[in-house]
Amino acid sequence: MIPREVVVVAEHVGGLLTDVTLEILAGAYEMARSVGWRVTCLILAEDPKPFQALPLAADRVVVVTDPLLGSPNPAAYARVLPHVVKDLSARLVVLGNTSLGIDLAGALSHDLGAPVVSGCVGLRAEGDRIIATSRLCGGKLLAQVEPPGELGIVLVMPGTFHRELGMRDAVPPLDIRSSPVPLDNLPVRFVELQEPKMGDVDVTKASVLIAAGRGVQSKENLVLLEALAKELGGAVCATRPVVDQGWLPRTRQVGRSGMTVKPRLYLALGVSGAPEHTEGMKASGLIVAVNKDPDAPIFDVAHYGATADLLELVPVLTEKIREAKGTQ
């Protein structure tokens, strides 16, 4: 019997595969090995050179080239991918649950007539069945889903698998092809990719981060967190809702579309712990979470937690740290 094919769709920036690409390769490879399937790492690029000698966790690497695949243009990817996936006779297509992956899901589902399971935090195969675990409702629920049919598409959450396992010792065979379809007249033109403009604080460099979640309730209350951060020699970062309210600049946002941080201490205050936030901070050295909701998913990733009102706790904590420093 010909082994089933798992196609992992890579993402890259500046000639480097992204972390989530290595993570989903790791997950796909482990799953494929458990049932004797094969993994193809599919890279869409303008130039194949940066990808020619990578020891990826895959049975082969296919690079599809076209001048218009130099940037992550969802319309270009959406036009090329269905043709290539059909050519490769895939049983499963694995994408990151990322800005680009989410854009492609609807079009791939339609063009390939295949169901999509998004938000996956688990992936396994049993016989010919694919069983995905999808995280939803702010991380409070886990759904087990078996995509029906002969081809499934899954979007895997960043941080689900270990990126180190996305690389192996050997370089898999490489297959370079030009795009099977012309990419003229695309309805979407990629103009440019802008790097973030760093503001006064670079949260990726701070060793202590005080994270403001929705529980801070108002911009005025951030003063309390700033005072605590100052006492600990750290900086204040935030979740998306806080940034969306305009209480802190976008450069302070931690999570999927914001910054990924690994401070020594991450003190999460009023942070619910939605997956799109935790994927940007869960590698922190010490995570302490304070939330009024004892069921908040942040307690799943924190080392220590307390069910308390942050607005009451923070002034007391700041004072106690000040006292403690005075007695040193």
Partner: protein, 255 residues
């Protein structure tokens, strides 16, 4: 310029979520709904565009009776037209089905822009916006944080979030479907009195029953996460918790 905004009702995750006896869905009696946060941002973005260049904004709200409340709020905020699409409880969160319901209606209405949230809280499928775009054979880009339209309405220049704080700038031919991540400004607040007034005067158009379509993906099992909670919980009232945190930080040389 005609803009449609799709608002979905999703479970409020601040409330207790109860799994029903079938072990694969939420208990209908216990779910509290609220408008999907990203959809709320999509409405705000539509209203921003309307204020900037003039537009007719149609709010399309999918769900049960609570979805009609969302329409009153949308009209109070500045939407010009309200359409309700009834979605039976068992089909909540099925974006493939919702796209197939909305597609034909939207095709005939001839919107220049269709906005909705890039993500819904109860989503486990391919999502609504991308599915709608394929139904309508329109271009789709999601994860947007701002957009500007050229004066003759032929193109939009959109800003799309990428990981690491990067922003992609893309030019998209209109009409198009966009998945909004967050609006250029926080969703506006509207006083309850205005919502009540809008509710009284509200003229809601009902969208008829959808054609039968294959359902999207379905959960074979639904469980609450967190049972494997890892955090060691610090007991006591505020002073005890503060002391415990200070002790932990001092042990690690952080404070």
């Amino acid at each position: 310029m005609k803009i449609a905004v799709v608002l979905r009702q999703v479970p409020d995750v601040v409330e207790e979520l109860v799994i029903s006896d079938d072990g694969r869905s939420l208990s209908e009696d216990d779910v509290m709904y609220l408008t999907n946060e990203a959809d709320d941002h999509a409405l705000e973005e539509a209203l921003v565009l309307k204020a900037r260049a003039g537009a007719q904004v149609t709010a399309v709200s999918a769900g049960g009776d609570e979805a009609k409340e969302a329409l009153a709020t949308a009209v109070a905020k500045g939407a010009d037209e309200a359409i309700h699409v009834a979605v039976p409880f068992e089909h909540r969160g099925d974006n493939a089905r919702l796209a197939s319901v909305l597609g034909p209606m939207m095709k005939s209405a001839g919107y220049d822009l269709i906005l909705t949230g890039v993500w819904a809280a109860d989503q486990m499928d391919a999502g609504l916006a991308g599915g709608l775009a394929t139904q309508l054979s329109l271009p789709y880009v999601g994860g947007l944080v701002s957009m500007s339209l050229d004066p003759n309405g032929a193109h939009a220049v959109v800003r799309k979030e990428f990981p690491g704080g990067r922003l992609g700038v893309l030019e998209v031919s209109l009409p198009a479907v966009f998945g909004i991540q967050s609006a250029e400004q926080p969703p506006r607040y509207v006083p309850v009195s205005k919502v009540l007034a809008a509710k009284k005067a509200l003229r809601v158009r009902e969208q008829g029953e959808p054609p039968a379509v294959a359902a999207g993906v379905r959960a074979s099992k639904l469980v609450k996460s967190g049972s494997e909670a890892k955090a060691e919980m610090l007991p006591g009232a505020v002073p005890q918790v503060a002391e415990a945190i200070v002790r932990i930080l001092r042990e690690r040389g952080i404070a």
